[in-house]
């Protein structure tokens, strides 16, 4: 066996704290290694050329690159060795940058550690076997979870690219948060005016199938071939009959249902259509408030409905769809105001959240666009906005910035002036975060042209005084306490992940961070991919972001899928489990433990039962390998021998 080892300087990143020459020197002493050299930037074009040439010149049949993390460049170098004629699995990477040169300060220790790590990689590569991927057919349909602006954009781009799309939306209508907004920064165009046409496109696109008021129950399969169980939740209205005429809503006697769409600004009816532009525009009964359900009698809507669409007996329905890729665009939630007791949100009716204020501003909102105080319906003249209400607040476990509230506060303050010309708005802020194109100009305009008074400091307390609310804060630039007697206080409540985010992540086999936002494959270079191939992210489910960024991600995720589906087949990862039928005793322990159901029992011609791996289903976790009592089932590329070779290379020295 002829192993070649290439040790990377990575400029000073590695060579600065590791004596790479000495690593090369020591490496040459390892049996099997016939060539070892160092290189400035191994991943650069000339660096890769050097590897290819060395393979030919030295007759190498195994290659080790000691450089950065394999999560960074393993693919790069696999392709390199393949181009030089070697099987791509005759390659190993030793991580001497992320795990050594960047975390250890002592050059001597680092160098010794690097030598050990290279020795382990050499030991492993000598155990490596050639592996060949096979191709499998793919189902070129796409599932989009969440019909907010990000999900809609992704769905439309995929559909326009010729793919069939299934959208599953949890709530009654698509549109997400954007459908609730009045205007949008930084141009103040009407939110629903720009979103509405997109929603209609979604509804009318022949390639898009929409399941509203539905949720994902189960996802099975792998990239290219998923089976998804969708739960169509009972609406108690037969949507195939409902025309959205709204007659039921008008006559329904139960007037105090919680209005989820309007974030409880005003109550709604037990049967309702959330907003005029809703898609689909269909009615739904809220059984928590409907008298037919709570008291067992009413039936008014059933009587009134001209198409006889009401069905109190309706049950959830389960539908299975087959798709090949999934875009997760489930968006975000906001904290409850009662997490901030010092502000009294929830206790004092005139302390409201930003999204509630958005509904007050909106012409199709509960007040028809008249700004009024919830307590007495009077027009407020003094309005105070409190930014970072819960955001950047470690004491309640939200250390991060919510990304877009600085901007929407400026927007809302400007709109307030437009609505009530003799009003005065105040904004308490810690920093004004407005780095987008035209953004800072926008927040400046609020101050320069609209006379919005910005106060640098946090609010400590809000308390009622007569009909007013006293907002007590600090002006840290003045170094004093300040008090404002306000008519209305708007809290820019913190953005958080959805309650079911973790639960969904489990179904999707994707990761989420401490705060429940989904984790991308690489924060800079793979922002819409996840570590699970076939699953992509778009919008605020990955982290708080505004509409332009959400739309950008929606398109990006769609383009990734269009690329993935550009051929008829996909290459499988050959690093899957394989059974040695001679060693297998047919105990079927592996069958029981495989989390993916990838192992089936198979009867041999002599009647013996053994395990058999379905290659396309096997995800390559290796759980079976550590379960098998006979060592009969081995995860390729991570076999017992390969791992023990590494252990021994380190320990037996």
């Amino acid at each position: 066996m002829r192993v070649g080892v290439f040790i990377c300087h990575c400029g000073n990143n590695i060579a600065g704290t590791i004596d790479v020459a000495r690593v090369a020197e020591e490496t040459r002493k390892i049996p099997g290694v016939v060539y070892a050299t160092t290189y400035m930037y191994t991943c650069s074009e000339p660096g890769q050329e050097e590897i290819k040439e060395a393979i030919k010149r030295e007759g190498l049949d195994r290659v080790v690159v000691a450089a950065c993390s394999p999560r960074m460049h393993e693919m790069t170098f696999r392709r390199t060795v393949e181009k030089a004629g070697l099987n791509r699995y005759f390659f190993e990477m030793a991580n001497i940058r992320e795990h050594i040169s960047w975390v250890g300060e002592d050059k001597e220790f680092n160098t010794r550690k690097a030598i050990d790590v290279v020795r382990m990689a050499v030991a492993k590569v000598m155990q490596n076997r050639p592996l060949f991927s096979s191709s499998f057919k793919i189902n070129k349909r796409v599932l989009v979870m969440g019909g907010g602006v990000a999900g809609m954009q992704a769905a439309l781009d995929c559909a326009d690219g010729g793919l069939e799309v299934v959208i599953v939306e949890k709530s009654q209508s698509i549109g997400g948060m954007m459908a609730r907004l009045d205007k949008t920064f930084p141009t103040i165009d009407c939110s629903i005016c720009i979103l509405g046409p997109k929603m209609v496109d979604v509804a009318q696109h022949e390639k898009i199938k929409l399941y509203a008021y539905s949720e994902i129950d189960e996802i099975k399969g792998y990239v290219g071939n998923y089976q998804v169980k969708i739960r169509k939740k009972a609406t108690y209205v037969d949507w195939s009959k409902c025309t959205g005429c709204g007659a039921c809503m008008e006559k329904c006697p139960s007037k105090n249902a919680y209005d989820y769409f309007n974030f409880g600004v005003a109550p709604t009816k037990a049967i309702n259509i959330p907003f005029p532009q809703a898609i689909p525009k269909k009615a739904k009964i809220d059984p928590n408030y409907c008298r037919q359900f709570t008291k067992g009698k009413c039936g008014v809507c059933a009587k009134i409905c001209p198409t006889k669409a009401i069905d109190y007996e309706m049950k959830d329905e389960i539908i299975t769809e087959e798709v090949g890729a999934i875009i997760v665009a489930t968006g975000y939630s906001l904290i409850d105001m009662d997490m901030l007791p010092e502000y009294g949100g929830g206790r004092y009716p005139d302390v409201i959240s930003g999204i509630q204020y958005e509904r007050l501003l909106n012409a199709s909102g509960p007040t028809a666009g008249h700004i009024e105080r919830p307590s007495d319906h009077e027009e407020p003249k003094t309005i105070v906005f409190v930014s970072c209400a819960g955001s950047r607040d470690k004491s309640i476990g939200i250390p991060y910035c919510s990304n877009f509230c600085c901007m929407y506060i400026a927007k809302q303050a400007i709109l307030t002036k437009d609505h009530i010309s003799d009003s005065q708005s105040y904004v308490f802020y810690m920093d004004i975060r407005s780095p987008g194109k035209g953004y800072d100009e926008f927040t400046r305009r609020a101050q320069e042209e609209y006379g919005v008074h910005y106060i640098r400091g946090r609010v400590s307390r809000i308390y009622p005084k007569g009909k007013k609310l006293v907002v007590r804060g600090a002006d840290t630039l003045l170094g004093t306490q300040v008090e404002i007697e306000a008519d209305l206080v708007v809290l820019a409540t913190a953005v958080i992940s959805n309650k079911d985010a973790a639960y969904m992540a489990e179904k999707l086999h994707i990761s989420y961070d401490t705060f429940g936002f989904y984790v991308e494959s690489h924060p800079k270079l793979r922002p819409v991919e996840t570590n699970t191939s076939g699953v992509f992210l778009a919008g605020a489910c990955q982290g708080p972001k505004d509409i332009p960024a959400s739309v950008g991600q929606g398109s990006a995720a769609a383009s990734k899928i269009l690329a993935l589906f550009s051929g008829e087949t996909l290459e499988s990862d050959p690093a899957v489990a394989r059974v040695n039928i001679n060693a297998c005793v047919g105990c079927l322990k592996c069958v029981k433990t495989c989390p993916f159901g990838a192992i089936k029992e198979k009867e041999l011609r002599d009647g013996r039962v053994v395990a058999d791996v379905i290659e396309t289903v096997c995800a390559g976790c290796g759980v079976c390998t550590s379960t098998c009592p006979c060592g009969a089932i081995q995860l390729q590329h991570f076999t017992d021998n390969q791992i023990l070779a590494e252990v021994n290379a380190l320990c037996l020295i």
């Binding site: 010092e342 970072c388 950047r392 607040d393 470690k394 004491s395 309640i396 810690m430 640098r456 400091g457 946090r458 609010v459 400590s460 307390r461 007590r472 804060g473 600090a474 002006d475 840290t476 170094g479 004093t480 306490q481 300040v482």
Partner: protein, 188 residues
């Protein structure tokens, strides 16, 4: 205020406060919430968030000579509401202790009151309110402090004319003595 020279930051002072309070002043991002909530801001020369800022830049003299650290009543408002979970009140307490140790007392009356309180405690084991008041009035030179309240309190029989001496008062004074020995030993 003169320009503060930031070329050299007094790290020793910052480290001392860090060690004695167990709090990290660099967690403070100057939001101003503590100042906003502090009931004493109007009586402070430097509002509490500025004390935090001065601490971050190691301004030992300004801080230890400030009135704020003495006027702070440990009401815990700042600690309760600090979004960075800093025990601000405890830092104020620590700064006051350091100031006292270095004999920098910008609020003599407050310190005197505390001292009288403690000496009453060391002497009797419990607080002898009348003695404490008289002692304070004489030493502070504010002979008439709360004289208006005298009749109210005395006629209600709320204040005892004689101190209650507890049996174990020597045990209390022993705590004070051991503490003094200790500080002497530590060379403070």
């Amino acid at each position: 205020m003169d320009a503060i020279n930031l070329t050299i930051i007094d790290r020793n002072f910052i480290e001392l406060v860090k060690k004695e309070s167990g709090e990290n002043p660099y967690l403070c991002y100057q939001c101003g919430n503590c100042t906003a909530g502090c009931p004493y801001t109007t009586f402070f020369d430097y509002p509490v968030s500025q004390i935090m800022r001065l601490l971050q830049t190691g301004q030992k003299d300004i801080i230890l000579n400030s009135r704020a650290i003495w006027v702070c009543a440990t009401c815990e408002t700042c600690t309760t509401r600090c979004p960075c979970q800093i025990d601000v009140a405890h830092i104020m307490d620590t700064l006051r202790i350091i100031a006292r140790r270095e004999n920098r007392v910008s609020e003599k009356d407050i310190k005197l009151f505390y001292d009288e309180f403690l000496s009453s405690m060391a002497k009797y084991g419990r607080i002898y309110e009348l003695g404490l008041l008289l002692g304070y009035n004489i030493k502070s030179g504010h002979i008439m402090t709360d004289a208006d309240l005298g009749p109210k309190v005395l006629t209600k029989g709320k204040i005892h004319f004689l101190p209650k001496k507890i049996k174990g008062r020597d045990k209390v004074s022993k705590i004070f003595e051991r503490f003094k020995d200790r500080t002497r030993r530590d060379g403070r």
